[in-house]
Symmetry: D2
Subunit: 333 residues, 4 copies
């Protein structure tokens, strides 16, 4: 049994970690912390977890968390991990950090986030592309947009045939967290779609870094919020150097994602096929008489885009089948 | 031309007053105040009003507002009207107050709202039941729930045949205002329905007062918020002393609402027939072998339930046809 | 291992049976039929089930289904079960029928559905009230509205203190099935709420029958469709003969639902606490100076209101813990 | 007074024509036809129009429509206009056709729609780009996607600096009409976003034709349906040959759209600023250190994208100010 600690367990990703780990046959949550809800039952804050977990939010120190845990998930805002991660790592526990703090190369992190990087080594936990996760001590769990975007086109970039890609991404609003904001206000978002940070979203740096490891391609990225709770659909407008047939592309994807149980290739997916699951569904269409291929990927931003992927990383870190506790169908409709 | 002032014009009801008055042939807004947005263009805060109004929010004193206005709409939170209404009335301008402060008899107000009442005389501005609005100086614009509930059953209560009524009301979230809250958070409200203040909502006192003027009936009231921006649908479960046929009921309603242009009788309505309009649609069904009649009414909570009704009151106060500037179809779908 | 057959497995309840049984440790689906999709993979019709099930819809005869199954779920429209159920029962397999055909006493069925009843004995499968399910051969799986309504008030009716109840129910649209209709058209339902069959819904007969077994109470029932995919929230306006305190009511509910793992008592629930789960959440509020108690229950209409409850019945029929394969948290938000 | 006929008035665009013309001071609807609803009141089919119009759907012949009309709006499916338009034109009435049949050059129409073109001369009624509308007899009212896409980038294409454009468009579901379909089924669309005809949508031909009149640019176009009733948001990823500053771009747009009352330039718009209005809102952001500009436009697909623009064309045809009867704010929220 893997003993798990969760630091910052009151938000949406924390609640998903608790929900998913409650059904995990090889892991047990030993402690979950929250400053805001210290002393409250998890199931009072997240009522769907009633009868499922008897956990109570604690306000304990990092050292105490380290003591009772084999692995700790840190689900705190970027820039605040330095309060926890170094001490945890030094205590010898494994860490999967769900913030952005360890995802980029230090110099790139400092440029993009305008704050000092902790230069500790971490593995970028997009498991399908980073088999070396299994031997990491610190895993940087990927951002939600990069997960959908990178998985959508990695086989083609790796194949060396891409000239440029325009990622036009559409996300459910849970990506911005559990606290009410002007954008998450129902009368603002319902019956609407809201482009934001159209040329400046920080997740672009992750996409560029990860695709850059595979090949060259010019990357553009623009996100939107749609009236949905969960899910990211990424429309990748891919421009190729030389034309590929549908059959060739299919074979490129199948080879690349062989033995990757959470990648499902097929018809153009929508959010409904993945909501509530750890799957990433991918489909594509080749434009006739054109150098454009449109690739669409969908994920559940809170699962494959956050907590599910974090647990997938934990599975790999501890030598388990990556599917353990995660290989369930989503909820549709 | 009627010169209009609006105090507290930055919220949803303020924006609706501005939108509706922009198309009113006999009224002109002279001043609109907002402490929060002083100096900002109305159309920067409410972007749908761009090119429609050049008004700028002002932070001026009540006396200045009174000076340039024939009528003032006060759209401020209940309990804060005492800063404005007495001075306005004393300056001789007419006032339509959209808060709850003048809707109830003073002693009832003090019981329900636990604060001191201003004992000034006001007319309850549910125009269909209060023809005396035309000679008022101060109109208390009705609450959104009471507008839908009272109009739904007034003819039957007036007819003397009702034993008891259970009002089960469902409202869009704009009823709770433009500021984000835990309930208005999209991930909370989407795909949900939320009962609240199930036995304690203050609007019950208005319903009891207004129906009590017409006859005796035992009143129960429970509100819910639904995933919709606008609209209130009220399901009135009416229990009668002696059975009435559909034909009799239809005739009771037609007589009662003769010459009331904003009441439309017919099939069971939904929010879509009234959204964006000042209409109140009413339909009913008589249960076979039972003393129950189910009456359903729908209104747009921001129009007939707030700003539209306020303008309807203004029309009557100034001797205009009550339809002036208001008699347009809603937006559907 | 329990061998399972599903007749009529292409709709929403069929898909939920397949999804839930895929994760059930003691059951295995041997055959699933669909006339419309014969020969198609289940995962082509319900794409969220890709990689989860390799089943293919078959068009085989009832006798063949009976041959390979210990239990058969019939998920076909009411009035068509006679094609399947009698033959299945005679073959000696257990049947859980998800239609309305065996829920009512035959004479009542004939009155309400205007068609001939099959007079075969069946147990009404609301497990919390019918412990005798364990020895049934034919279980009539309850309707979605009755499940929410009956569970909400059964303890109070059983207690003998109720005078009358007005059930005002609000359902997600999946209750009306997977085929597009005028009501399920997005522009009709979004931003709306639609009352229907306000005094004539057939589910009332089930509610009356089941509560009538426990005590006397006058029942009214009116359903509405809300803009939500899943879930039923039932607002029960309960009028009592003599007043009860909150403490007394709590104790009545706790006693009645002791050892019922899928009933969760507590704060007023919403759809979000149960969506995706087999739980029924119940909360109440006592009106001051009044004989009214408002009880609210929520269920997922496709799970506790259909397929989950069907599996709960299967568990009981086969001597398993009723939680087997079902005791997971829902998906929220 | 302009006498108006509407052929095919029962769908969403028909209902919007009726709603908007009911408030038009210089036009009067003389006849509206519908085969399906012949003999029914318009307000029975579109209940929000009750008390607003007393019109009854008629099944009369084209010649009768021509007789009583100065102008006829044909709102029938593409490919069926030949039943009406030639006869109307020959009768001497003006026609605004809302189908696709006259939008493209005949040879292009035949290629794209695989049917014979009526080679009659028509003006493409995107008024902001086609001032010659005022002297047309037959106006081809633009498609909804092309309206949003072309208006978004016309000034830049006209300026000669564009290399290529990727249009990623997101539309409300009313664009696909009033009849329920698998895609418009609420459980399919809610909490979802659905890409479709990603490389093959016929509206691309209109976009290419209209932008081609202004300059050279490589065009890609991919549409999506979002969970919204109304509105199209177009994200135009524009790649330029040489960089432009924000100030330069602003000035290019302001010059191009000077005196175009329905174009509003400013901050990045959303659907909420235009829903219910005839405005097209446009905003942009220049990516730093890049040749990409992201331009966003929003329209109400049923108004500026269909019926409102049709009336704007009528206004111009009859020498009225193009704003007549159309210059109102939308409904927000």
């Amino acid at each position: 049994m893997i003993d798990v600690g969760i630091i910052g367990g009151s938000g949406y990703t924390g609640a998903e970690l608790i929900r998913l780990l409650s059904g995990h046959p090889e892991a047990e949550i030993k402690v979950v912390t929250s400053r805001r809800f210290e002393g409250k039952k998890v199931s009072e804050v997240h009522t769907h977890l009633k009868s499922i977990t008897g956990l109570v939010y604690e306000g304990v120190e990092t050292s105490k968390v380290a003591e009772v845990s084999d692995i700790v998930f840190t689900a705190v805002p970027h820039g605040t991990t330095s309060e926890y991660v170094p001490e945890l790592i030094e205590s010898g526990v494994s860490v999967v950090d769900l913030s952005a703090d360890y995802r980029l190369k230090p110099e790139e992190y400092e440029r993009v986030y305008s704050r000092k990087a902790d230069k500790r080594d971490a593995v970028y936990g997009l498991c399908e592309l980073h088999p070396e996760v299994f031997e990491a001590k610190l895993v940087a769990n990927p951002g939600c947009y990069p997960t959908g975007a990178v998985l959508a086109v990695a086989p083609l970039v790796d194949n060396g045939t891409i000239e440029s890609i325009v990622f036009d991404s559409k996300s459910g609003i849970t990506g911005s967290g559990a606290d009410p904001t002007a954008t998450s206000h129902y009368p603002t978002l319902a019956e609407n779609i809201i482009p934001y940070k159209m040329t400046t979203h920080r997740h672009k740096a992750e996409i560029v870094q990860e695709l850059g490891r595979l090949g060259n391609a010019r990357i553009s990225f623009t996100p939107h919020v749609i009236p949905a709770m969960r899910g990211i659909l990424t429309t990748a407008h891919v421009f190729v150097k030389e034309n590929l047939t549908s059959v060739e592309i299919e074979s490129i994807y199948q080879d690349f994602y062989e033995d990757k149980p959470f990648i499902r290739l097929g018809a153009i997916p929508t959010l409904h096929s993945v909501r509530g699951s750890n799957f990433c569904d991918i489909g594509f269409e080749v434009e006739e008489d054109s150098d454009r291929i449109v690739v669409v990927s969908t994920i559940d931003n809170l699962i494959k885009g956050a907590s599910g992927q974090a647990i997938q990383n934990m599975n790999l870190l501890f030598g388990l089948d990556e599917r353990t506790g995660l290989f369930n169908a989503g909820l549709s409709p």
